[in-house]
């Protein structure tokens, strides 16, 4: 099925625009002072990644990314920030030497990875013809419920464990002080 959403000429321009916005807002997540701004920039990053999924014709993942990440997880973050009333975090930053070390180590990893990946020859695409309807709900549901049925059911056990854990951790004992 041809991806009718994207004009052929515009595809690369949209790709580079989304990449630029995603990287910029990811940097702003790390460097913004207030936690609330970080959450909002992270939501922008998630929307850009959903745009990337649409470009790759993975419509199911684009929808799930919006619903689960930008919807559920970010609302949880926002709820926690408002609940704890975190406003200004002026002394949030670590010492200067730690910041420099953090940036240098992260940048070194980036340079190393790019240098290694430039040397790598990736000819796995040549093996198979790209099929564009892989990411649609129909084909993905067939794979999920045929080949990955057991992991899917185990994920529900994981959710149950996480739910019980979150309730147990968040429960207030009678002697605790009220926030």
């Amino acid at each position: 099925m041809y991806n009718a959403l994207i004009m052929p000429v515009l595809a690369d321009k949209i790709f580079y625009f989304l990449t630029f916005v995603a990287l910029l807002s990811a940097l702003l997540v790390v460097f913004s002072k207030k936690p609330m701004h970080s959450v909002l920039f992270l939501i922008i990053t998630f929307f850009c990644l959903s745009g990337h999924y649409v470009l790759l014709n993975a419509q199911f993942l684009a929808a799930v990314n919006i619903i689960v990440y930008a919807g559920a997880i970010m609302v949880l973050f926002l709820f926690t920030i408002m609940f704890l009333n975190l406003k200004n975090e002026e002394e949030d930053k670590r010492s200067a030497i730690t910041q420099i070390i953090a940036t240098v180590s992260g940048g070194t990893l980036l340079v190393l990875m790019v240098a290694v990946l430039r040397q790598t020859e990736m000819n796995l695409v040549a093996n198979r013809e790209p099929i564009s309807n892989v990411g649609l709900v129909e084909s993905l549901g067939k794979v999920l419920f045929r080949d990955y049925l057991l992991p899917f059911e185990l994920a529900s056990v994981l959710f149950l464990a996480a739910m019980v854990g979150a309730v147990m951790l968040g429960k207030r004992d009678p002697g605790d002080k009220v926030i």
């Binding site: 041809y2 991806n3 994207i6 595809a11 690369d12 990449t19 990287l23 990811a26 940097l27 997540v29 790390v30 970080s38 992270l42 990053t45 998630f46 990644l49 999924y53 790759l56 993975a58 990314n65 990440y69 559920a72 997880i73 949880l76 973050f77 926690t80 975190l86 949030d92 930053k93 670590r94 730690t98 070390i101 992260g106 940048g107 990893l109 980036l110 990875m113 990946l117 990736m122 695409v125 093996n127 198979r128 790209p130 099929i131 564009s132 892989v134 084909s139 993905l140 794979v143 999920l144 080949d147 994920a155 994981l158 959710f159 464990a161 996480a162 854990g165 951790l169 968040g170 926030i179």
Partner: protein, 107 residues
Amino acid sequence: MDLEIIKTIPLEHYIYFSTALFCIGIIGVLMRRNALIMFMCVELMLNATNLLLTAFSAYNGDASGQVFVFFIMVVAAAEVAVGLAIVVMIYRNSRSTDIGLLSKLKW
């Protein structure tokens, strides 16, 4: 039948983009002290992996990669639920989300 993006954008660009996003997440985890922001940077790293898996899946014509992304999202949701409960508990005890306070767990 082919996708336009696969013809115009090489797979390497997706790999470089995901690597950059992952490294930004690592820098954030190492640099910030607020536990909530560290969690957000972990989410950033998970999303970089998700995008890479999706790109490989789309370029290779194999749906398994996108199913894996689905499971990563499941695990991320569970992780955030438990992690934020822990953050709230830490805040209740120490009035701060600074993870430096947790260094007293050492002794």
